[in-house]
């Protein structure tokens, strides 16, 4: 069986059914890992077939439910449709609204770092990188060791390693290009105590990669970095998202992925003001629950466009979140010398996908940024 885009549907169907011949399966895996155009087309095909199949299954189930309901309530279809006064009883008060509260509670041991230029207002503006101290260091190291052990078990060949010194601070970063350039918040790397000794990213598989600073703008709080390993790739294909430098509309629904803890975390909200803290035109103000450690997380709209990167939260009384707009990221990129030219994707590949699919596509390109100090 040949691997080409001409018979992509047949390949996708057999692949999903698990009935590809072994030989073709091996060839397919290799092709998917190396040919990103083919991979994009193939995954679109499998996603579409899966969605169509699942959607059909759900429709048949719903029809059956309606049928069962009709059968079981034949006798009692009396018209008791008088509207009653609605009473809120405490037992169904929604519980998820405290999710954000839980996230913040788990971070109470952390010490908030502050952007130096904002010190005069420090009580109202807190950087959301996460400082790891005392007990947390021990926990983090234990987790690292554990993850390291697990990793060694299943991927001996990949040779990634965990740094040995102490974690000073953690944030989140996301890819600018598949070959290792990424962006994070500058204050994750540098604060009043100076720079850490080394910076590593830890991807969603738990693997560590060393990274170095390429350029930054302390004023906007944007830093561009690169994974040092040669031949490094964040994921299989090109970046799933695109970048939108134009100001997004007030009220736009947005979401973010970040690392407030060892696990990636999702939250969603909306743009609540066109400008940021103190009317800063390079920022957005958001209603978005975030945890400390999510500095540098991508701010993404429903169509898969990156609108900016998270930088800070307001005081507890305000609970606003602030993001630097994508424009600041792009301006910084344009200052790079030509040989480091990063080509941002022109379009988002995840515009029409369900949120779960968008998240799963983005996971490989969003990772924890860990700053170490001896």
């Amino acid at each position: 069986m040949s691997l080409s885009t001409n018979n992509i549907w047949e390949l996708a169907e057999l692949y999903l059914a698990g009935s590809l011949p072994q030989e073709t399966f091996v060839q397919l895996k290799a092709r998917l890992a190396t040919d990103s155009a083919f991979a994009t087309e193939f995954y679109e095909a499998t996603d579409l077939i899966r969605s169509a199949t699942d959607s059909g299954k759900h429709k048949r189930f719903k029809n059956m439910l309606r049928d069962i309901h009709r059968e079981q309530t034949k006798k009692d279809t009396g018209s008791k449709k008088a509207t009653k006064h609605v009473i809120f009883t405490p037992e169904f008060w929604r519980t998820a609204s405290i999710a954000a509260g839980v996230a913040i509670l788990t971070s109470t041991i952390t010490i908030w770092s502050l952007k130096p230029s904002m010190r005069k207002n420090e009580s109202r503006y807190n950087m959301i990188s996460r400082e790891v101290k005392g007990l947390q260091i021990a926990q983090a190291q234990q987790l690292q060791k554990q993850q390291q052990l697990e990793k060694n078990l299943d991927t001996k060949t990949r040779k990634s390693f965990a740094p040995t010194s102490d974690v000073m601070k953690t944030g989140t970063g996301f890819a600018l290009s598949n070959n290792g350039y990424f962006v994070t918040a500058y204050h994750v790397l540098h604060d009043e105590n100076g720079y850490g000794d080394s910076v590593y990213i830890q991807n969603h598989d738990g693997q560590y990669f060393k990274a170095s600073l390429v350029t930054f703008n302390a004023e906007t709080d944007v830093a561009i970095m690169k994974v040092e390993k040669s031949g490094f790739r964040f994921g299989k294909g090109e970046l799933p998202y695109s970048f939108a430098p134009a100001k997004a509309a007030l009220g736009s629904h947005i979401f973010t992925l970040g690392y407030p803890a060892e696990d990636i975390s999702y939250s969603e909200g909306y743009i609540s003001a066109r400008n940021g803290y103190d009317g800063n035109g390079m920022q957005y103000t958001l209603e978005l629950p975030v945890g400390y450690g999510e500095s540098g997380s991508p701010l993404v709209d429903g169509k898969g466009n990156v609108l900016g990167l998270l930088t800070a939260v307001g005081s507890q009384a305000e609970e606003k979140t602030y993001a630097v707009s994508a424009k600041a990221i792009m301006e910084l990129m344009h200052k790079l010398p030509d040989e480091k030219c990063i080509k941002l994707p022109k379009s988002s590949h995840i515009g029409r996908m369900s949120r779960e699919q968008q998240i799963s596509k983005m996971e490989a390109y969003t990772f924890a940024v860990k700053v170490y100090k001896k």
């Binding site: 549907w9 047949e10 679109e44 095909a45 579409l48 077939i49 969605s51 169509a52 199949t53 699942d54 959607s55 059909g56 299954k57 759900h58 429709k59 048949r60 189930f61 719903k62 059956m64 439910l65 309606r66 069962i68 309901h69 079981q72 309530t73 009692d76 008791k80 449709k81 008088a82 509207t83 009653k84 006064h85 609605v86 009473i87 809120f88 009883t89 405490p90 037992e91 169904f92 008060w93 929604r94 519980t95 998820a96 609204s97 405290i98 999710a99 839980v102 169509k303 379009s347 988002s348 590949h349 515009g351 029409r352 996908m353 369900s354 949120r355 779960e356 699919q357």
Partner: protein, 192 residues
């Protein structure tokens, strides 16, 4: 003798496969409890039917995941999902601010959040299917009918070949692949 847990697991597996008897059993065991509760809490019997069926669809979606193991009984899960769904509906109608959480013991914080997650996943999935349906509607004939027959009505390629006048299933399949290519173009059109 089988434990209650095993029986529920089998029931769930059958539900996931779309088995009618299992679905009927879960329906008859739980509908009246939830309908009764709802009518004491401001809902009508029509609301109860909608609510319960939606909760069943959430359970159905959840049961598709092979790793899904309920930590409580099917009845408890359906009841909790129904309550959350009903609350969401009231909130939407009345635009009330979210009241502070009050711990009632039967619905502790973690599981409450888990139910919310399940409901959100369900809503997103429904929205995704709606987008797909909208794309299907834009397809011309015979594509729309062929894809509906295959995916929605679970017809085999033999049946489709016969009812759409193809000489053999292979030809029908080739046509189906062409239709999928068109569907993909429409469905992913918003990307550019």
């Amino acid at each position: 003798m089988q434990s209650q847990f095993n029986i529920e697991q089998q029931l769930l597996a059958a539900l996931a496969a779309g088995d009618r008897a299992a679905t009927e059993q879960i329906y008859s065991q739980n509908y009246h409890i939830i309908s009764g509760w709802l009518q004491k809490n401001g809902g009508t019997s029509a609301d109860a039917a909608d609510l319960f069926q939606e909760a069943m669809v959430v359970l159905f979606g959840k049961a598709q995941d092979e790793e899904f193991r309920l930590t409580c009984s099917i009845g408890t899960y359906l009841f909790a999902i129904s309550k959350h769904l009903w609350y969401k509906k009231l909130q939407k109608q009345h635009r009330e601010p979210v009241p502070l959480h009050e711990n009632k013991g039967d619905d502790d914080e973690d599981t409450g959040i888990a139910y919310e997650d399940d409901i959100n996943t369900h809503k997103e999935r429904e929205a995704h299917y709606e987008q797909l349906d909208a794309a299907l509607d834009q397809l011309g004939e015979p594509c729309r009918s062929i894809l509906r027959a295959y995916y929605h009505h679970d017809k085999s390629m033999q049946e489709i070949a016969a009812s759409f006048g193809y000489t053999n299933p292979e030809n029908a399949k080739t046509q189906k692949y062409k239709c999928l290519t068109r569907l993909r173009k429409i469905f992913y059109a918003g990307m550019d």
